[in-house]
Symmetry: C2
Subunit: 249 residues, 2 copies
């Protein structure tokens, strides 16, 4: 089995209400690698946020007393801190000036995924898409209208406990289940797997990052040759560990 | 940029003192995909453990009182529990019958990476390689003798806090640095990256898992087309977050 991973280059700067699927479909065709049935299209969340207008004008934000004092302590912009807090349902930990939060979606990450550097305009910050699964489904539907049956993964760059360095993970999915379970299958020695479930969408997001890079303007990658079973009910919900079962929140 | 990821099939069952690099080199050639300069060869730790004889005969293990009581509570084999504890420097959490430990190497994972299902013999368990960086360096050197300049990543399948599903991550590396830093570089808007460092070896391990699968006997994958800068001093040390700086231990 061979998979190929390539970036989709030549996308213009994304603006509000752009038809992202159409732009990706066109750019892939123009670079000589048209999208094909069975591809997994991995889209960096920041361009989804841009297309959906998920940005905040900092001048419109009135920081709370807590945001003000915390921002002062760490020499941060209190309005950005306020946005980080508004995007969260709880603060899990604080590491120096970084807040590790659980977002309203249930993702645990630094600063609620609020992105100060990519909004393309001073005085604005990007926030994560409101419902990344819905965004992914919308992209998948639109790709289908354009004639290709592809799965869609929306990715972001997250840190993690214990290990230095960030990796790209999935925050939205459409068309395929995020987890692949080996439970009940047998290894080559005949042992039945009792627990193993792989988070395939995170592995797809990670593979995509290898060709995207963060300084080059390649916010989309295609993974070709990875088999997935079509499932239009799929969401990221199975990946979000119940906080009751999680000993690290 | 395009990367290709493919599994190396046709490897025989691995035994102690097998020349793993030679076997991988031969198998890749025989399947028509000979290793080439610049490849990253991702090797599942379990076959490294097998080649290095990193297994434990359970009959030789005398469980401690703690291992006995804990095993009884969770209906586990007390000898396996004892091996898990011996392979750890501390227990971080306990989730039902699973111990989340920090291994002697500094990896945080379930059951110290002790593998009951893959030893190939009843009454034995596999443990992680003693020094996976040294194992990787040894493989890289041997591949060089066979005529190819490749980086080597040794991978294992780990769970993680917050997210369900496991992913493959790196536990050993040779030939390339594990982290890629964007610090000091600029994004397309001219903003300087202040913090971003990607854990490229974990992304390579994740990409490799997509073609390995766990039930098929494909313990090795090759990532071709990923640029890495040769560095023979590289180890996993930069990935292991200092426990003083880690708020989740």
């Amino acid at each position: 089995m061979m998979i190929q991973v390539f970036g989709v280059t030549g996308l213009p700067e994304i603006g509000v209400d752009n038809d992202l699927a159409e732009m990706i479909h066109t750019a892939a065709g123009e670079q000589g690698n048209p999208l094909a049935d069975g591809d997994v299209v991995v889209v960096t969340s920041k361009i989804v946020s841009k297309a959906e207008g998920c940005s905040v004008e900092l001048d419109d934000i009135a920081p709370s007393a807590f945001a003000l004092s915390w921002a002062e302590r760490w020499e941060k912009d209190a309005r950005v801190v306020e946005v980080v807090l508004r995007e969260s349902k709880r603060v899990i930990r604080q590491i120096g000036p970084v807040l590790i939060t659980e977002t309203h979606h249930g993702f645990c990450c630094a600063n609620s995924g609020v992105d100060q550097s990519s909004s393309g305009a001073a005085g604005r910050v990007l926030v994560l898409p409101k419902d990344p699964d819905a965004s992914a489904r919308q992209l998948r539907r639109r790709f289908a209208e354009l004639g290709v049956d592809v799965a869609v993964v929306i990715s972001d760059t997250f840190g993690r406990p214990w290990r230095e360095g960030q990796t790209d993970v999935a925050i939205g999915v459409a068309g395929m289940q995020p987890l692949y379970s080996y439970i009940g299958q047998h290894d080559p020695h005949g042992h039945e797997f009792a627990v193993q479930e792989l988070c395939v969408v995170d592995e797809l997001a990670a593979a995509a990052e290898l060709v995207k890079g963060n300084t080059s303007r390649v916010p989309v990658a295609v993974v070709r040759g990875h088999y997935w079973e079509a499932d239009d009910e799929a969401t990221m919900a199975p990946v979000l560990r119940d906080s009751e079962k999680d000993l690290f929140r």
